[in-house]
């Protein structure tokens, strides 16, 4: 059962890195968070610790419902349709993510646990999303995927780290809220979300 969920996460990660439209990215993120929540449920069921269930509920509420809501609300105001000129064009980002996944599998070979490797892959995809795109929202989603990766990383490593999980989840929630408000402000002052206009603080 966990293998299926992990494969879904892997597929969503690779797919997300190539999406152009932010709405698709949002849905991809929601799907990913849902799978992570189910993963926690499965882990909880498997090991019998109660804190996994609490984590399942928390991730479900925040990452599957609230954060995508924030993203879609800020998207509506910004009339953002599609990512026009991406630094890493669609095909290239797929290829880069593919190579990254392959490398991480080879390099982290001696770690038996799949979760750990998928966590790393999620972090790398988050990074690629952030560095390869120009729109602010995509960067935000990239960052949140990276946080998801850290959560996965944490689940695989630390058996009893409840405080860490709660910390991460709350932090992601507040982070998403603040970024949402900021995107709203940027959209109001710059009336575009392209970060090229956000680079006149030079030297």
């Amino acid at each position: 059962m966990i293998e299926i969920l992990i494969s879904v996460i892997l597929i969503s990660a690779i797919a997300m890195s190539g999406f152009r439209r932010a709405r698709m990215l949002n849905r991809g993120f929601a799907l990913q968070s849902l799978t992570i929540a189910l993963l926690c449920l499965a882990k909880g069921y498997q090991t019998g610790e109660y804190h996994y269930y609490i984590l399942f509920l928390l991730t479900l509420i925040t990452k599957v419902v609230i954060i995508p809501l924030i993203i879609s609300r800020s998207m509506v105001h910004s009339k953002l349709e599609r990512e026009t000129d991406m630094i890493l064009s669609g095909s290239w980002s797929y290829i880069v993510t593919g190579i990254a996944v392959a490398l991480s599998f080879i390099f982290l070979g001696n770690f038996s646990d799949y979760l750990f490797r998928v966590g790393c892959i999620l972090i790398i995809t988050g990074a690629i999303l952030m560095m390869g795109r120009k729109k602010a929202i995509t960067q935000m989603i990239g960052l949140l995927t990276m946080e998801n990766g850290v959560v996965l990383f944490e689940i695989s490593m630390v058996k009893m780290g409840s405080i860490i999980e709660f910390g991460i989840v709350f932090e992601m929630l507040i982070l998403a809220m603040i970024m949402g408000i900021m995107i709203f402000n940027i959209n109001k002052t710059f009336d575009t979300l392209n970060t090229d206009y956000l680079s006149n603080l030079k030297e």
């Binding site: 972090i123 850290v150 405080i163 900021m182």
Partner: protein
């Protein structure tokens, strides 16, 4: 007991600034809050002085002399900035640049920012430290974008993205750190004191990777070289009191967190030359920041780069190791906090009077704003390390330690970059203060008299530190050095 009082003061301050409508009352309460926190931290200081370290709420809160130093810095600098922001926010509010709600948001976030820093340096739990750092990032994100101009929004966006990425890497590092204990993990495992007394050995490889993640991750928050890019934008766009607090305290705290992990690292055998991480990144940040100082046209960005440079000096101090270097680095962090906040507050005054951050546009400060230029000169002399100020002794100790331990190249880089930074400072600021093109007659601005009290407090603190660091503060700093050097 004091710590409960602290929390009570915090909650009171937050609630007042949310409920009450009158700006004056809010800022007075804010100042009162910071003063109370200062008094409480001094009292805690006395406890720590005689009992070595104190626990509270079971082992959740742990204060030893190292965190006591950070506590003192936080509370003193926030008293200064609270005093400054009283007139600053009132001025902005009266010229209705900002609405009432914006002012209230400012004071709430100010309190949240200060308390999250206090929470950070008091928490025994390493995850608590991480959450503290994250909370400061979130609190200051809005404060940087306070003036809602294009540039400040851009700075805020960059700040939040880069710092969150950095802290995510830091979190990965912490998780790897706990994983390297390779034993059954329970909640008490996250206590720093527990980790300190951990004797069942670490897996060396994982620990190395963990500490590198922590160093680079939290290093972004500290403004260490290649990851310092947010610092120069954030500090130059943030309102002056906030950039004073960030430059003075926040980057010290990030380094404090790294040092907490470094103390545990040092126990594991075979990891002695992890200190080269500090040295390499220290030299990198020295070189990058000092050369950027030379080419600055915006004086607040120049001060931000000088913070990067001072972080480089401190990390070199820790990198050289040895009692002298660590003593120098700690002393330098204290003096730099006060000196840098003095400079930022003065630049705030100048910005308030001249409404421009460009160095070229400000002429003959000595005649237009004589009082502020005197404080500016004192600030420059303190930051660049002239003798009566303690920063000269700290730089001397770090350099001496560098030569004693045989690292000649990093010490040479340190000396060279001190010189370049000094040249950059003197050329820019002395031209601003003295140079006049003789054409028009300069009259003293009436804005010169505003907001002088916080500057006086800052100079008083610097004088206090310089006078007492070898007598009164000595036991405090020495015990902190023992914690680090073992």
């Amino acid at each position: 007991m004091h710590i409960n009082l602290m929390i009570a003061v915090f909650i009171a301050a937050i609630s007042v600034s949310i409920i009450i409508k009158n700006i004056d009352v809010i800022s007075y309460v804010n100042i009162l809050g910071t003063v109370l926190l200062l008094i409480l931290s001094v009292l805690i200081g006395f406890d720590v002085a005689d009992r070595g370290h104190i626990f509270h709420f079971g082992t959740a809160v742990y204060i030893d002399s190292l965190s006591q130093i950070q506590l003192l810095i936080i509370t003193t600098v926030s008293v200064m900035t609270a005093l400054y922001s009283h007139k600053y926010i009132k001025g902005e509010y009266e010229e209705n640049i900002i609405s009432l709600t914006k002012a209230k948001v400012y004071f709430v976030l100010f309190q949240v920012f200060e308390f999250s820093m206090i929470f950070l340096c008091m928490s025994n739990n390493i995850m608590g430290m991480w959450i503290g750092l994250e909370a400061t990032t979130l609190a200051t994100a809005f404060l940087i974008g306070f003036s809602n101009s294009k540039l400040s929004l851009e700075a805020a966006w960059k700040y939040i993205i880069i710092c969150s990425v950095g802290l995510a890497m830091g979190l990965v590092g912490i998780i790897l750190f706990i994983y390297s204990l390779n034993s059954e993990i329970n909640t008490s495992m996250l206590q720093w004191t527990y980790l300190l007394s951990w004797d069942k050995g670490f897996s060396k490889k994982v620990l190395m990777v963990a500490f590198t993640f922590i160093f680079v991750g939290i290093g972004t928050k500290a403004g260490i070289a290649p990851m310092h890019t947010w610092l120069s934008d954030g500090h130059s766009e943030a309102p002056s009191p906030i950039s004073a607090m960030m430059s003075g305290i926040l980057i010290n705290l990030a380094l404090y967190v790294i040092i907490r992990f470094y103390i545990i690292i040092r126990l594991a055998d075979g990891l002695q030359n992890m200190r080269y991480l500090f040295i390499v990144f220290g030299c990198l940040s020295l070189i990058i920041s000092t050369f950027s100082i030379l080419k600055q046209t915006n004086y607040k960005r120049l001060l931000a780069f000088s913070s990067v440079e001072n972080i480089g000096i401190m990390s070199l101090g820790f990198g050289f190791g040895g009692v002298l270097g660590v003593y120098g680095a700690l002393l330098h962090s204290i003096v730099h906090a006060y000196g840098k906040s003095l400079l930022f507050l003065v630049s705030g005054n100048i910005l308030n009077a001249y409404q421009t951050k460009r160095i070229g546009k400000i002429k003959c400060l000595i005649r237009t704003m004589p009082v502020n230029s005197v404080f500016l000169i004192i600030g420059i002399l303190v930051i660049t390390g002239t003798p009566p100020a303690a920063s000269f002794f700290s730089e001397l100790k770090i350099l001496q330690n560098g030569f004693n331990n045989g690292e000649y190249l990093p010490a040479a880089i340190l000396a060279f970059s001190l010189l370049i930074a000094f040249a950059g400072f003197v050329v820019t600021f002395m031209k601003m203060i003295f140079l006049n093109d003789g054409a028009e007659e300069y009259v003293r601005l009436e804005k010169d008299k505003e907001n002088i009290l916080p500057l006086v407090v800052a100079v008083a603190l610097i004088v206090l530190i310089s006078a007492t660091f070898s007598s009164l503060l000595n036991p405090l700093i020495n015990s902190a050095v023992e914690i680090i050097c073992g």
